[in-house]
């Protein structure tokens, strides 16, 4: 077995992991902090990718393209937010409606289902031009983005507005009783969350050299996998630990996927696992992560001789 190919798997997994981690941070904001299951993300990730690709192809500087893509994601988040708070559409449905509508919008933006960036200047080609080996450019960009965003989100949580947002997800009754409008903070959380998701899509499009209409399929499940793996592996002591845990979780998830593919490639199994099976495997990871805490509790209860619930 070639050790080097495993190491490159880890490196490649880590690169994809940190880029997708930005999406997971956005999802963490809506799903965990705001307690809002936001299905907009499947659409806003693609939206970010589409806007970023089209901008880059039009000659916009790559970093500005990422910024524009982020703003487009924020707009998508605000639509879901208004559907939910203004018109009282349930959270899941509001997200699904926006996501559904975004499919058409994303196709309009790209003009086709797959928008390639062959020979265009991207953030990654710019980094390579500085003399960084191409295998490391992706990881470097991803890590810089992830670290800056962890610090930014952490600081945001410490502000008065950030506190109100966290409290809204925790106890909206208390927030209203203390004179803050929960609707404002729900919309704000969805805006920031989807902005991060679109930023992730924007980076991804530039990294892989194309945007695809289906690149966002299953984003919410991949994000949940990252969040939950992070929670299992990392302490939840402070928000800094938690946010770092989300990024680590995203990286570990990608490395698991890379290893599963590698094993399947080299091992002599009856059924060859391919990239197409990853959605099934991801779903299984999330299900295990969802039921694991309960299993752990009942196992502990049994070991200590007490009845589990």
């Amino acid at each position: 077995m070639n050790i080097m190919s495993w190491l490159w798997d880890i490196q490649g997994g880590a690169t994809l992991g940190v880029i997708w981690a930005i999406m997971a941070l956005g999802l963490y904001l809506t799903y965990r902090v705001l307690n809002y299951a936001d299905l907009t993300v499947d659409g806003s990730l693609t939206l970010g990718g589409a806007v970023s690709a089209v901008c880059v192809a039009a000659g916009v500087s790559p970093i500005l393209a990422i910024l524009i893509a982020t703003i487009s994601g924020m707009a998508a988040g605000s639509v879901t937010g208004f559907l939910h708070t203004k018109f009282k559409i349930p959270d899941l449905l509001a997200g699904i409606l926006t996501q559904f509508a975004l499919y058409s919008i994303n196709l309009r933006i790209m003009g086709k289902a797959n928008f390639g960036l062959l020979n265009e200047v991207t953030l990654f080609s710019q980094i390579k031009a500085l003399g960084i080996p191409s295998k490391w450019a992706g990881l470097l960009v991803g890590v810089v983005f992830a670290v800056v965003l962890i610090i930014a989100v952490y600081c945001f949580f410490g502000t008065e507005i950030g506190c109100a947002l966290r409290a809204t997800g925790n106890n909206p009754h208390m927030v209203r009783a203390m004179g803050a409008n929960t609707k404002v903070y729900i919309v704000l959380g969805l805006i920031v969350g989807n902005g991060l998701v679109a930023m992730s899509g924007a980076l991804l499009a530039q990294y892989q050299g194309y945007a695809d209409i289906n690149m966002g399929v299953g984003t919410i499940v991949i994000g949940l996998a990252a969040i939950m793996i992070g929670e299992v592996l990392f302490s939840k002591k402070t928000y800094f630990h938690r946010l770092a845990g989300v990024v680590i979780g995203s990286v570990v998830y990608r490395i698991i996927i890379a290893f599963v593919l590698r094993i399947s490639l080299t091992a002599d199994t009856v059924i060859k696992i391919t990239a197409d099976d990853m959605k099934l495997i991801t779903a299984i990871i999330v299900v295990i992560a969802l039921i694991a805490p309960g299993l752990k509790d009942s196992a502990v209860a049994k070991l200590s001789g007490k009845e589990g619930d």
Partner: protein, 265 residues
């Protein structure tokens, strides 16, 4: 201070479970009034407090606080005048957030929130001093999650949060009902101290008639969505539980029914 004028509220209108919760409710509070509220099951005690707090829109009538007509204001806008403690200890605090975060959040009641830091070091010192007055050892646990506290500690904290920025009006909705008798007594004493020391205009719903008589300068009894009895001053001081029961039967023409109140007697 507080004026409730001809307020009506019906829940589930036009359905088989329609409930006329408030019927021509009128109440006037002077500044510094500490009013205890008792009444039977479904008399409208909590509904009245929720109407004042703006939890729902009124069908008819007006509510003014300190000269401001708040009838049309949503809950979060009225919060600048009102401090509240709920029956459920989980409701008044954010359990996943730290004690100091909850207090800092309460300190900003009714203020615009900005991108300034949510807590300053000066505020932390203030919180330590205030928590010391509770005598529950919470002053050493500023960075403990509120979810780790007991029900009594949580209610004491909620009371502190409701009053840390002096409210024009304090609403206490059976805030000791979910606590064990000993803790309930402690929290009630704490409440009495805070209210009298700060001369807070207060409405306190209670299911304990003795407490209703013991605390406050005024007692009202509600039945069928409005006030049926309003006793204050010397008359209140000399009240006995048996007097209250007799008065209830006299005014309403039926026997007093409140399961928890009967048990608490």
């Amino acid at each position: 201070m507080l004026d409730i004028k001809h307020v009506y509220k019906t829940f589930n209108k036009g359905t088989p479970v329609q409930k006329e919760a408030l019927i021509d409710l009128n109440l006037h509070l002077d500044e510094g009034d500490f009013v205890t509220i008792i009444g039977g099951n479904g008399a409208g005690k909590s509904t009245m407090l929720n109407a004042v707090a703006g939890v729902f829109e009124l069908d008819k009538g007006h509510i003014t606080i300190d000269g401001n007509d708040v009838t049309k204001d949503p809950e979060y806008k009225r919060a600048k005048y009102i401090g509240r403690v709920f029956q459920d200890p989980l409701r008044g605090t954010a359990g996943d957030m730290w004690i100091e975060e909850n207090l800092a959040f309460a300190l900003r009641r009714g203020k615009n929130r900005s991108f300034k830091w949510g807590i300053s070091n000066k505020e932390r010192e203030q919180f330590v001093e205030l928590l010391k007055t509770l005598d529950l050892g919470l002053e050493d646990r500023l960075d403990s999650k509120v979810g780790l506290l007991s029900g009594g500690q949580r209610q004491a904290l909620t009371l502190l949060m409701a009053t840390i920025k002096k409210p024009q009006l304090l609403l206490l909705d059976e805030h000791t009902a979910a606590l064990d008798p000993k803790t309930a007594k402690t929290v009630l004493e704490m409440t009495n101290k805070v209210v009298t020391e700060n001369h807070l205009t207060t409405l306190m719903v209670t299911h304990n008639m003795n407490d209703a008589i013991k605390y406050g300068n005024r007692l009202i009894m509600m039945d069928h969505g409005h006030v049926i009895l309003d006793i204050s001053g010397e008359e209140k001081k000399n009240l006995k539980v048996s007097d209250l029961l007799a008065k209830f039967e006299e005014v309403s023409g039926k026997e007093f029914s409140n399961d928890r109140m009967m048990l608490a007697k």
